[in-house]
């Protein structure tokens, strides 16, 4: 049974620098890192120390409070550095990689004959568990939960997003193996949602054991949170698991080969990239290696992920664990004179959802946007703008205000369980008052995690 969901709200921000459909392989570089902050709320318990030799698949650290959840090395090599930040919080575990990756293999088991508990511990011990995330809270899934469903989005609708139809073309077997394993973990359905505005790849259409849903509309139609809300909304007490489409294939491929295979294809995008294209790389790869042959000049921002919800990284930083995209856009840290490029200017080259700039005359123009706030932080004044880009039956501003005043009952009533920070990315983009809404929502989720879950 499949159904089509039509979204009328949303916003596509058209940017310069979409990746060409060319997969290139570069030298992966020799410096890799696993970053505990990629897994929100995780307190890592280190299993290795500097100087230890590891293989791809060797446990690097585990969750201090749930030590069955293990995080493993994507490559083989030597632990070169453990970078700590404030309060000695571990920010990065750096690994100097060998020329040839050697794997700490594990036994290839027939997942179809395993019980759900056996499969769980199989995934946990071999480092495949962290690919599964949970809603509410948007954190790594907890093994003891019984999810009512598992959701996979077969496309990404964010600006310059990677095209999973292209990335996973020909990966039918790995993807199916991943689906088969995931289906074991829930009594409910595995939902796979494709974009009805384009023809999805055979990998998705031929997937078995899933409920195939279609969704059409602008961003955030590809966000798994939007899809959950319209297909099977989360109530208080429900747990839903989500997995990124490419990570499903990683799980499947690893289970079939018996080694932790962290290779993935990422889209290198953004207006500052000369040759935007797809690059075959490995989780935790250094940004500089991914960017090779794309020399970049000037003052730019590197983002692991997309421009709306990605993480700011440095040129000598590393790809995020879940990210399938690297975006490079100009920094906007120069003051702008009011009449030329500032608030009173004609605004050529600026993008806005309200028509006080002239961008609405050119609906197909692609923009080069920088990181300037384009204003100063203010109290909420304008209303109704978030609703235009927020396809949820939730009042965004009321929920945000409930979080700001830390009213847990109100947060629950207004739907905090159904949202993740990325669902509010567009609200944050359009906010006239320049409030960091994703951060606010994350704080709200942290409070809920502490008090209610």
């Amino acid at each position: 049974m499949s159904r089509t969901i039509k979204l009328r709200k949303g916003l596509d921000i058209k940017l310069v620098g979409e990746a060409d459909k060319v997969k290139t392989t570069t030298d992966h570089g020799s410096n890799f890192a696993i970053k505990p902050p990629d897994f929100h709320g995780l307190v890592p318990k280190m299993a290795v120390k500097v100087g230890d030799k590891v293989k791809a698949g060797t446990v690097i650290f585990a969750d201090k409070y749930k030590d069955e959840v293990k995080y493993v090395s994507p490559v083989s090599g030597e632990i070169s550095e453990i970078v700590r930040g404030e309060k000695r919080r571990i920010l990065e575990v750096r690994i100097t990689a060998d020329k040839e990756t050697s794997y700490q293999g594990f036994e290839v088991k027939d997942t179809s004959s395993m019980s759900s508990e056996e499969l769980k511990s199989h995934l946990l011990t071999n480092g495949l568990w962290p690919f599964i995330k949970m809603r509410p809270l948007d954190i790594v899934a907890r093994p003891e939960d019984q999810p009512k469903a598992i959701f996979i989005s077969a496309f990404d609708s964010a600006p310059l997003a990677p095209d999973y139809d292209y990335i996973l073309h020909g990966e039918n077997e790995a993807f199916q193996a991943g689906i088969d394993a995931l289906a074991k973990l829930t009594d409910g359905k595995v939902h796979l949602t494709t974009n009805s505005d384009s023809a999805p790849d055979k990998t998705f259409i031929d997937a078995k054991g899933v409920q195939l849903n279609k969704i059409s509309g602008k961003h955030p139609s590809g966000n798994v949170g939007t899809q959950i809300h319209h297909i099977d909304p989360i109530n208080k007490g429900d747990i839903v698991w989500t997995v990124n489409a490419q990570d499903v294939a990683i799980i499947g491929r690893s289970l079939k080969t018996g080694k932790f295979d962290a290779s993935k294809v990422i889209a290198v995008t953004g207006s500052e990239i000369k040759n935007p294209r797809y690059v075959r790389t490995i989780i935790g790869a250094p940004i500089s290696a991914v960017l090779v042959n794309n020399s970049i000049e000037g003052n730019v921002r590197y983002i692991s992920g997309n421009v709306l919800s990605g993480e700011k990284v440095k040129l000598d930083g590393y790809l995020g664990f879940y990210d399938s995209q690297l975006t490079v856009i100009p920094e906007g840290d120069e003051p702008k004179f009011m009449l030329t490029k500032g608030w009173l200017g004609p605004g050529t080259g600026k993008f806005s959802i309200n028509r006080s700039y002239f961008n609405w005359l050119m609906p197909n123009k692609k923009y080069t946007l920088d990181t300037n706030l384009n204003g100063e932080v203010r109290s909420f004044v304008v209303t109704g703008e978030m609703e235009k880009v927020f396809p949820f039956d939730i009042y965004p501003m009321h929920l945000i205000k409930a979080v700001m005043c830390n009213d847990i009952d109100l947060m629950e009533n207004l739907g905090i369980y159904e949202v993740a920070p990325e669902d509010f990315a567009l609200c944050e983009f359009v906010c006239t008052s320049k409030i960091n809404i994703q951060e606010v929502i994350r704080e709200g989720l942290d409070v809920i995690r502490e008090e209610c879950m």
């Binding site: 909304p233 109530n235 208080k236 007490g237 429900d238 921002r301 983002i303 421009v307 919800s309 990605g310 975006t327 856009i329 920094e331 906007g332 840290d333 003051p335 702008k336 004179f337 608030w343 009173l344 605004g347 600026k350 993008f351 806005s352 959802i353 309200n354 028509r355 006080s356 700039y357 920088d370 990181t371 300037n372 706030l373 384009n374 204003g375 100063e376 203010r378 109290s379 909420f380 004044v381 304008v382 209303t383 109704g384 039956d393 939730i394 009042y395 501003m397 009321h398 009533n413 207004l414 990315a425 944050e428 983009f429 359009v430 906010c431 006239t432 008052s433 320049k434 960091n436 994703q438």
Partner: protein, 396 residues
């Protein structure tokens, strides 16, 4: 130039910041979350509203001059003595605008320095609205007083821009209306300079000095008090709908011309800055009550066509610039329909049924400002109920 945080000028940093950010959009960048942001900011939003008010201001200046020379009996046709009227209007109106801005921004700066907050742009609009909704003869000290009252008690005590319960400009007007009723109503204020003219001169010039609303209000009293013993027809022979539509009528500075207001409305709706939901439902609300009062008419005022209601007094101005203030309006889309409709309906209701307040728009909007959170509360409760119901169906 920037005052350092350890210098003796440090406490004036918000003031410096206010001027600096006026000249330059600062180079501040996003740190986390969405790395790119929409081009709009509060300054531009507010500036668009000020821009939308300019036609009303220009028309108001000329109209002030026109009615002055009508009262003195020097000008008959609307376009006669164009230059004189313009100059007279400028002399009357510009000082009010300047006083309103200077006093209001002064108060804002004092509070910003005291609280060490960045100055917010809310008063850019309020400072223009206040002059436009008062009579041109309002003494400047009253304008200053009302502005201080509105900014301090209407806004700053609640925490500044974005936190106020009721509309700032209407607070200023309400202050004047109740504090100095003789300067805000009656037949001595609506034509500039009229209070200096003798009764004989006025009678000789055929001028009563009242606005349409004042004249209409007499219909609610006993027949002996009617200004037009001939009833509504006599009234409409003097004031045609088209005159009211173009704005060739006496009234507060900026409220008379529906044409000028519509130009502003077009800008606000086109840029998406004002809510079309509120505007539309406000007009509808007024229209519906107009029809209802026609149907149950027991005096000539109640017979006035609904369309005529919409073009006289401050109704159009209120619909476009006052009720749509996002801070004091309902914040939910459903709420906006209800809020606007009730606002419009109440405006005409007060007008028609309460002879003591010839203009109901100010009262209605202030009342709805206070009611807006209640409307939102019920709209949001409906959403919460949907969610709890979903949970119950699941567990049942």
């Amino acid at each position: 130039m920037e005052p350092k945080h350890d210098s003796k000028w440090a406490k004036f940093h918000p003031m410096w910041d206010g001027f600096y950010t006026f000249l330059f959009t600062p180079g501040e960048t996003t740190s986390r979350g969405s790395h790119i942001r929409d081009g709009i900011d509060l300054k531009r939003t507010m500036f668009m509203v000020v821009l939308a008010l300019i036609p009303c201001l220009l028309f108001g200046i000329y109209n002030t001059g026109h009615w002055h020379y009508v009262a003195t009996g020097e000008a008959g046709e609307y376009m006669d003595m164009f230059g004189d009227k313009l100059i007279y209007g400028l002399i009357q109106v510009l000082p009010i605008v300047i006083v309103s801005y200077a006093v209001g921004l002064g108060v804002e700066f004092i509070f910003c320095i005291k609280n060490q907050h960045a100055i917010q742009e809310g008063f850019l609009v309020s400072g223009m609205l206040i002059p436009l909704i008062i009579p041109a003869d309002t003494p400047l000290w009253m304008v200053a007083f009302a502005t201080v009252f509105a900014v301090v008690l209407g806004k700053e005590v609640f925490g500044g821009t974005g936190m106020n319960i009721v509309n700032i400009a209407l607070t200023a007007r309400a202050f004047l209306f109740f504090g100095y009723p003789t300067m805000m109503s009656g037949d001595k204020v609506w034509m500039s300079g009229i209070s200096d003219l003798s009764r004989e001169t006025l009678e000789a010039n055929g001028v009563t000095g009242a606005t349409q609303l004042g004249e209409l209000a007499s219909f609610t009293g006993p027949k002996a008090d009617w200004i037009y013993p001939g009833g509504l027809e006599a009234f409409q022979a003097k004031w045609s709908i088209m005159d009211s539509f173009w704005g060739f009528i006496p009234g507060s500075i900026g409220e008379t011309s529906v044409v000028a207001i519509l130009i502003g409305a077009a800008l606000l709706l086109y840029t998406g800055i004002a809510s079309w939901r509120i505007m539309l439902s406000f007009v509808l609300g007024g229209f519906v009550v107009g029809i209802l009062s026609n149907m149950g008419a027991i005096n000539p005022y109640m017979e006035l066509e609904p369309l005529n209601h919409l073009v006289i007094g401050g109704f159009a101005f209120g619909a476009v610039f006052m009720i749509t203030d996002p801070v004091t309006a309902s914040q939910t889309n459903t709420g906006k329909y209800i809020y606007g409709f009730l606002g419009g309906a109440l405006s005409i209701t007060v007008r028609v049924f309460n002879g003591a307040y010839p203009e109901g728009v100010m009262m209605a909007i202030l009342f709805m400002n206070v009611m807006a959170p209640l409307i939102d509360h019920y709209v949001v409760s409906a959403n919460i109920k949907r969610r709890t119901k979903r949970l119950k169906t699941k567990t049942a």
